[in-house]
Point group: C2
Chain length 339, copies 2
């Protein structure tokens, strides 16, 4: 591993801004050498302005990814522009062609083989040709409902089923996430949005597939259902108020079927007012495993952290499109006590 | 990965017998092709006899490791003969020289760099020369207090400290483990045994070092203290009875110090009558992580499982002496729903 890893931040939405800021906080182990975004509110500005810092970061936001990548030749690009692979495939190819490894928050990239086989092959080929690694990760998909669940099976001689829960109080998260889960919509508005297929949590089926592939289980069918959760009483967050009867958020459930049975279940509840917030993995196995992260893993910070924490690990991984199940055990990087 | 992995079991104590039996249960994905032990009660006998199976396994226990290894050329040796690296270094070298990868339960091998630097170098060299992987693992060290704790930090932007607990009711474990923790000894007998340095749980400091190395933390000192836990009341297990005032087991604690503070603490309680059995990882970080495996991870099964589950992963790893922190996310192999 180089003594300092040079990174470019590609995409400066809420997650990208968080990631860029985290990279800056981890200097000199990490060095932010470029930032890309097309938003005219951001281009041409020093990141210091966006973060309200008193000193220049030396990094000016550019809309021209090709120039930035060619100029600074980063070791790793942290990519955070869209949830959907077809929207970002060209961006990813550009990064790889410039000789960069890529860690991306694109949810569909976490396990793209089933949903986008041709794109996946193209990207895997591009990564291998460049001798670089392309990885999709984040807290979910990428960790809470897949990597952590997979690791929970490591001490098991036998596994018959794995049940994963993630219950998130959306009221404690940023506004875009509250909007993403539909907080404050009427049931009818929710239905209309849900029908677009780009609404709610993206990546639950990807998590299920990471888990299945990691266990070597061939699921014969996947059932995937998202429903609105309606507020029973009025709920107020720092950003909005949900009236009783309005949508508080989502309940999204995916089931992986083998032999007619739901042997993998992923249960995601994200709504304002969730009371039993937690991440849990229940392995029906020998021995059984009953793992709980009490209070849950706070998602906004965690997604930024996972993107940054995987950067040193992709540098050592085998070139190609990789999933979290192929990567070394993930861990925090560049923290307080680091030498 | 080959369609069937050929394994030899080296060492047929309680863990080795469990491991061999688990390998047999995972045919045809795993194929047991040899078994080595010097115990005259076992040599020359078909494993079927030791397991009370009605059909021959085709595997006869041999005391001659060289012949077995040369003859069957296994992909992986599962090695379970001793906790201490100097006792097993030659056995491990013999396996590597025969072209086998090795997954070993030798506790000191889980992170041997600090305690046995010269032996480590010799073994790493031997593994690289053979193009094979040598890995020390098990439930503890190897998973509960190190790999799992490391993974728990993955969603953290900042980590200030990690506190790990493993509380085990030794009364629910096999007799050798109850003896290992001193159940039924007087306090004086315990002291005498503890002074030998080969008594109690081996590997707590190794777990701490895996965690520190994984986080990139350089600990300036490690404090390591094992104390007897005395029974307050009489406790009876299926194997023995501990009178009030006798030793019920151990409390073993290791602390990793950075900047004068215990930023890594590993707290292991193993005694008959533990009531709050659990594995827990508390990350003082951003976000904080409060992970608990309720009831704990049942150790006897789990150590066998981890040895077997890592076998397919060492086949894909970079040659050399590896630690769990360098391996892919561990997961169960060859389970019920596998294709």
């Amino acid at each position: 591993m180089p003594s300092s890893i040079r990174l470019v931040q590609f995409g400066l939405g809420p997650i990208g801004l968080g990631t860029a800021r985290l990279v800056l906080s981890k200097a000199p182990a990490l060095q932010l050498v470029g930032a890309i975004d097309v938003d005219p509110e951001k281009t041409g500005r020093d990141l210091a302005e966006l973060f309200d810092l008193s000193e220049s970061t030396g990094v000016v936001v550019s809309p021209d990814s090709d120039s930035v990548l060619r100029e600074v030749r980063p070791d790793v690009v942290l990519h955070t522009t869209s949830s959907f692979l077809p929207n970002v495939a060209e961006q990813l190819e550009r990064c790889l062609a410039a000789g960069a490894n890529v860690v991306s928050s694109t949810e569909e990239l976490a396990y793209p083989f089933a949903r986008h086989p041709e794109l996946t092959e193209r990207l895997d080929h591009a990564a291998k040709a460049a001798g670089r690694v392309l990885l999709g990760t984040g807290v979910n998909p990428g960790f809470a409902m897949d990597t952590l669940a997979l690791a929970a099976t490591a001490p098991c001689a036998e596994v018959r089923a794995v049940h994963v829960e993630r219950f998130v109080d959306a009221g404690k998260r940023r506004l875009p996430l509250q909007r993403k889960v539909g907080a404050g919509l009427s049931a009818a508005e929710f239905e209309a949005k849900a029908a677009t297929g780009t609404f709610g949590h993206i990546g639950l089926v990807e998590s299920l597939r990471i888990l299945a592939a990691g266990l070597g289980w061939e699921v014969e069918a996947i059932k995937d259902r998202m429903e609105p959760v309606l507020a029973e009483d009025e709920v107020t967050t720092p950003f909005l108020t949900v009236q009783a009867g309005e949508v508080a958020g989502i309940h999204h459930r995916a089931e992986g079927i083998v032999g007619g049975k739901a042997v993998l279940t992923l249960d995601l509840k994200m709504y304002v007012g969730v009371e039993d917030a937690r991440d849990a993995v229940l392995v029906d196995g020998d021995p059984p495993i009953d793992l709980v992260v009490r209070g849950g893993i706070f998602g906004d910070t965690a997604t930024c952290a996972l993107l940054v924490n995987m950067a040193p690990l992709v540098l050592e991984a085998k070139p190609g499109l990789r999933t979290m199940a192929e990567m070394p055990v993930p861990r925090a990087f560049g923290t307080a006590q680091s030498s």
